[in-house]
Symmetry: C2
Subunit: 502 residues, 2 copies
């Protein structure tokens, strides 16, 4: 057959594969939003079956042969073209996934789906024991998964690589080691300054007004409601069922304004990414982010670098006052700005300030590497968690709901995912430095509540490319540097020098 026919045939299979993945995505979205509790077990079966079928479709001999036959053709294409990249990325995924038995993936899908409601209940009841056997099973399955890829430098490498293609455990450890001292020093310096009063954020904030204000802001960010929606879930997330159907979720604390608002802004960053992918990449494995750190660079940029900036609130604070006059009427902008940037070691990662956030991640990375290595037993995890919290942040959770049970990730089997949050912070700052060089009046635009050129820049540099480039390559194309902590440390130091008058 000629290469064009081969390519068409490959695309046809990849279309079907992607359709299955998007259907699975909806099964997950629904499980987290609207599924009645009685549906949990059958949902697990459905996810397991679709996982198995999708996997077998992808790693079929036919796909292997097509990729083999397409090699010389791909070498003649423009290496940055959609087709060349599709063949390259598919070849990488094919090689990796061919090493995993379909049944192992189906077992993981079933085990994590079953674990989900148990985790929710265990968290509600702050009862780790209930969750322990499920987590043990998931850790065992994930170790088994990682071991499919022997030989490796580190057993955690194959897991990390699923979320961060090309990155190794040792790379992440190096990057983290490079800025941990500065980050710890920054928190220490802040702790010596007089503490900020944010009590006015802890009042009754009507849920509907919170919802409406959040929607108003992310509409301005550019979230397209014709091709997306927002719902509520226990743990906020973003799910794409195609470029025309991107969904974010949020959750509300009635007595703390920042929670839902920054969560909505965060997920909007993910949502803009998914909505911005070139429609030509639809129904292929390129209809995806480049990696989770690149995804987090978007979410944390909209949430923090933009959403917690003085420029942003210069525009939106007057509007917020219209929603909450009795709560905020006598609070000046500068006081509000400092309050939403208050630094304080705290139990819960998703509520953490920017200065301590990465410490939460470092702790998780340390623990999950130990679990996957087999150095740490699941039964010892709560104690290890509490000890690490003391080490990193000098505090101890009152119970496991505030501690080891707080995140959804491990119940979903997402080992290898956590470091991408911290990496996302770093990449976000790198992009930001480049962005404000390219668009010198960016801060003025934000002061005006204008985000069109910001989002257009992100779409052009990041979103539209989907998964065409590996994360290090993509960051380098834009910033001429690999992932690096310096920009983020400059950003943090700068910001907190201002907020805490260091």
């Amino acid at each position: 057959m000629n290469p064009e026919t081969n390519l068409a045939q490959l695309k046809n299979t990849l279309n079907e594969y992607t359709d299955l993945r998007k259907a699975m995505s909806l099964l997950v979205w629904d499980r987290e939003t609207y599924m009645p509790p009685g549906g949990a077990s059958e949902r697990g079966d459905q996810l397991a079956t679709l996982t198995r079928i999708a996997h077998l479709k992808f790693v079929s001999q036919e796909v292997g042969q097509l990729l083999e036959d397409l090699k010389p053709y791909a070498n003649e294409l423009d290496p940055d073209s959609d087709d060349a990249r599709l063949i390259k990325v598919t070849t990488r995924l094919y090689k990796k996934r061919s090493m995993v038995p379909a049944n192992l993936l189906a077992d993981i899908a079933k085990a994590t789906s079953d674990a989900h409601l148990v985790w929710e209940k265990a968290r509600e009841e702050a009862n780790f024991n209930e969750f322990q056997p499920h987590l043990e099973k998931i850790v065992a399955l994930r170790r088994q998964y990682a071991q499919c890829f022997k030989p490796y430098n580190h057993v955690y490498d194959p897991l990390l690589d699923d979320y961060e293609p090309g990155l190794k455990t040792v790379d992440v450890q190096k990057i983290f080691a490079a800025f941990k001292p500065q980050q710890v020093e920054l928190v220490r310096a802040i702790s010596k300054r007089p503490q900020i009063d944010d009590s006015f954020l802890h009042q009754n904030y009507n849920e509907k007004d919170q919802w409406d204000f959040g929607v108003e802001v992310i509409t301005r960010f550019g979230f397209d409601w014709h091709r997306g929606r927002q719902d509520k879930s226990t743990h906020p997330f973003t799910q794409s069922h195609g470029v025309g159907d991107v969904r974010i979720t949020t959750r509300f604390l009635q007595d703390f304004f920042p929670s839902a608002f920054f969560s909505t802004s965060h997920e909007c960053g993910h949502g803009l990414y998914a909505q911005g992918i070139d429609v030509n990449l639809s129904r292929t494995p390129l209809d995806n982010g480049a990696s989770m750190s690149i995804h987090e660079s978007q979410s944390r940029l909209y949430e923090n670098i933009v959403g917690r900036s003085l420029q942003f609130w210069t525009h939106f604070y007057p509007r917020l006052l219209e929603y909450f006059p009795s709560q905020l009427g006598d609070v000046p902008l500068d006081t509000f700005y400092k309050a939403i940037n208050k630094v304080e070691p705290s139990m819960v990662r998703v509520e953490a300030d920017e200065a301590t956030y990465n410490l939460h991640i470092m702790l998780r990375l340390e623990l999950e590497i130990a679990l996957i290595e087999g150095q740490l037993q699941v039964k010892d995890l709560p104690e290890a968690w509490n000890n690490a919290m003391q080490d990193y942040l000098g505090i101890t959770p009152a119970n496991d709901a505030q501690g080891v049970l707080q995140d959804i990730h491990w119940s979903s089997g997402l080992f290898g995912y956590f470091p991408t949050y911290a990496l996302g912070n770093l990449v976000g700052a790198q992009l930001w430095e480049k962005l404000i060089t390219d668009i010198p009046d960016m801060l003025d635009q934000i002061r005006q509540g204008e985000f069109e050129s910001l989002t257009a820049w992100m779409k052009d540099r990041i979103h539209r490319h989907g998964a065409k480039f590996e994360p290090q390559e993509l960051v380098h194309r834009i910033t001429e540097s690999k992932i690096d902590p310096d920009a983020y440390m400059r950003y943090l130091t700068n910001k907190y020098s201002d907020v805490y008058e260091l």
Copy 2:
């Protein structure tokens, strides 16, 4: 291999097949409830792909061989056992489905999914022209589908058989012909009586109170919220994603109380059926109703025979008055009862009274048979519709939204489905006569708002068997008669003699 191994292998494939079907079911539920409009095209692709994969899995050579090998084993089993019935039903479906190319099914899935939003828009704008090319494509595909089953007595037979296994076009035409004169005569007799005033039903009824009252009633009917939920959609429907996850939808008219309430009760009948299927039949093709007419017997029994009875409202009317004191405070029970049973030729099937309802169905059956036969062209359909409305009901729709565009079915490719509504009315009355013989104080129980033994009876006789029995067989097992209009005509005559003092 021994038969047990063969059976286990067959079940394994049927489990996967059913998982795919349930996933498709969720894709459809979501499309009708929460999907953003931008998702329509990709959703069509997803449904087409899952349709193709599920079909190929079901009609595989492997399944054919297993069924062949299992024949002697099945003959030795108790013919009513789950396993014997599973093999029997699967063999029937296998034979039928093997005759259809997977791509044709995928084309139908894609065409109907694409048509969906167009139909919604066309209906909103009362513009048939917009919808016409889509319907033409769907009719052509459905004709092509029917023609896969040559030879047949009638081209409509294979379509009807999908919803009503074992029933032929000629059977339905005979049944309809047997009671049409009586039904027409009844409507004529009523039209000579003084008309009932139901103006108080056309007032402002707050949506939330409508919702709450409906939920209260169907909770009493036995709808299990742990294993189900209710949402809003343009066209009410019920979708099962497994016995633990059964979802109904409803819609609200702010200015007409009966619409949402009877829709909720109707869908609850379907929902109870799906929730009542024996869990041992889960993840197999038996996790389904026996047929659509059996399904409609349940929905229309809860909606009409129970939900529009004087006994029912003897209990619930005082409660309804608490929700709507200003609207109904001065309306006596008997006046309310007569109003919700008012007979009047009307444009919209789902709002039709029990006396005229079947006429709406006869009209649709006539038209859709003509479409599938090729005797009627899609472009001539609106005129044919309006003429038939004049013939059957003596009225003409003001526009196509009130006429030919009102139902979702044709846009979904559901040719062969409509007659099951009328058949369901008949079966419901047959079951009702048997039920009140078995439980002599049934009416008293309903007067007390007690439905436990009603729903338990239905579960025992109908629900738990899933799709084990064909509809005629099932009705015969319970009532010792096949599907027959006499009970329904007795029911109608009796009821309207009372309401209209005939």
